[in-house]
């Protein structure tokens, strides 16, 4: 995972330059990374012991090892594959819509400063609105099912993408625009070969956030008011006092979301590294 040209670093580079690269090199595993792993392992071990010894009643939390076997059973038996697929399909749909629509809206707002002046103050406060409260409206508009859930998730995720697009387009250095003119690029070529790659690190941060919010929106909607999906399965297990299955599903969601977010974050950090100047 080391940076490809780490060893071609200039020998005579100034001190801060060397430090920069060194600090940023995402080497296989940093010291902090090991400690982090240790901390998490210790926390899991403590929970395991506390449950086994009986400090925490099994009716409240089951031991992590039991969660893991439950998760294994869920996957092996295939009882919840449908829920998993339903949720993932909604998340993907919501993320894709939020990213594309958010980019489009962001680009349009960026192009019209007057609109931007009016919309931007609201964008800063938008996320504060408890979007879930409007879920019933979407049921009226899209009916009970994936449509309403995707709509809620898009509503939650789109603003991150709009804001990221605005930031990204703002941060394209003026000098790159001038360079494009000197190289006599046409508007389309300029957009695709200069503006888009220059804004990409910011745009990708938007993508990362949009995916995280899409997960939150989908799972939460399913949990509160739906008849399918992983969120619903957890609520169902809870209401039927099936703790074992509930914890297995929770572990599944936590693992899936962590893996997806970590993967996106790794790409994000790589892209951000380009911007270090």
């Amino acid at each position: 995972m080391g940076r490809p040209s780490f060893e071609t670093r200039p020998a005579a580079a100034p001190q801060d330059e060397a430090e920069r690269v060194a600090n940023h090199g995402s080497q296989p595993m940093t010291r902090a990374g090991w400690i982090r792993l240790l901390v998490i392992a210790a926390a899991v071990a403590v929970l395991e012991i506390a449950c086994r010894v009986g400090w925490i009643p099994v009716t409240v939390v089951i031991p992590p090892s039991a969660m893991a076997t439950s998760l294994y059973d869920i996957i092996a038996s295939g009882t919840h594959w449908n829920d998993i697929l339903v949720s993932l399909r909604s998340v993907v749909a919501a993320a894709v819509i939020a990213v594309l629509l958010g980019f489009l809206v962001g680009a349009v707002i960026h192009a019209f400063p007057v609109v931007r002046g009016a919309v931007e103050p609201l964008l800063a406060s938008y996320y504060a609105v408890p979007t879930f409260m409007f879920y019933p409206v979407f049921i009226i508009l899209f009916g009970v099912g994936s449509g309403a859930i995707i709509a809620i998730a898009v509503l939650l995720a789109i603003v991150a993408m709009i804001s990221a697009t605005l930031t990204g387009l703002d941060r394209i250095p003026t000098v790159l625009g001038k360079t494009a003119r000197i190289m006599r690029l046409g508007p389309v070529e300029r957009a695709f070969r200069i503006s888009l790659p220059a804004a990409m690190p910011y745009l990708f941060t938007g993508v990362k956030l949009a995916v995280a919010y899409a997960f939150i929106g989908v799972i939460a909607s399913e949990f509160i008011l739906s008849g399918a999906g992983m969120g619903y399965a957890i609520a169902y297990a809870y209401n039927n006092f099936n703790n074992r299955e509930m914890y297995g599903l929770m572990l599944l969601i936590v693992l899936v979301v962590t893996v997806v977010n970590t993967a996106l974050d790794t790409v994000d950090r790589r892209l951000q590294a380009r911007l270090r100047r």
Binding site: G117, L122, A128, V129, P130, I140, L141, I216, N243, M250
Partner: protein, 242 residues
């Protein structure tokens, strides 16, 4: 001033859009803005509404206080030590982007069905951004500030009060802004699931009865409240940032 006019214009457009939806939806099961406002006024005269509001307000208030105090304390603690900071940051970021609603049953199992579960859930939402922002503010504080303080011969206590605190305050307020809105979200989600009181429950209950006007009236009220709180903190944020 100019931006206020712009924002008003945007809100007007949204209202018109709402009205348009009302007209477009078959049988108009979606109440119009006017119907919603009328219902909101009617709710103000309803003692039950005030009972639910006070339930939500209590849970929200307690969650805000707890997550602010806890978040800043934890952030300072983790920010004092570079290793602690870099160990915990990815964990916190991951917790932040986790659909915390999945963990709500655990909260219910631990705290029972009462108000404390909703407070705990609100704190789970609100505390993370505060911790993250406080921690990063301390970690990223320019070293020259501390060095200047040392050169001026300030004691550690004087340094914390006159240098560190003002230096990190803007970031802390940004964190609080996020934290407060998330506290409200947490409390409301808690009320929407497995609760017998609070505005979140009221919305769920009204929805089951098909009383869309009440659903929208309460949702609108909460949205306005959230926007106002956020704008106030945003203004504070800007004032501190100079």
């Amino acid at each position: 001033m100019k931006s206020a006019i712009g924002s008003a214009a945007v809100l007007l457009v949204l209202m018109l859009f709402w009205q348009g939806l009302h007209l477009a939806v078959a049988n108009s099961s979606l109440p119009s803005p006017v119907t919603t406002l009328v219902q909101l006024v009617a709710l103000f005269g309803d003692p039950d509404f005030w009972k639910q509001t006070s339930q939500t307000a209590q849970a929200f208030g307690a969650a805000v206080v707890l997550s602010t105090v806890g978040g800043i304390a934890l952030g300072v603690l983790l920010g004092m030590n570079r290793t602690a900071g870099s160990v915990s940051e990815p964990i916190l970021v991951n917790l932040y982007s986790l659909p915390k609603v999945t963990l709500y049953p655990v909260v219910l199992l631990v705290f029972g069905l009462g108000i404390s579960a909703r407070i705990a859930f609100g704190v789970m939402h609100g505390m993370i951004p505060l911790t993250l922002f406080t921690m990063n503010a301390i970690l990223q504080m320019k070293p020259v500030y501390r060095r200047s303080a040392a050169v001026m011969g300030l004691s550690p206590w004087q340094t914390s009060v006159t240098v560190v605190l003002p230096a990190i305050l803007p970031e802390v307020i940004t964190g609080a802004r996020l934290g407060v809105s998330l506290c409200l979200l947490g409390v409301l989600i808690g009320e929407m699931f497995a609760a017998r009181n609070g505005l979140g429950y009221m919305v769920m209950h009204a929805m089951e009865r098909g009383d869309m006007a009440t659903v929208l009236a309460v949702a609108l009220l909460l949205a306005i409240f959230a926007l106002l709180v956020n704008s106030a903190l945003l203004a504070l944020d800007r004032a501190w940032r100079h």
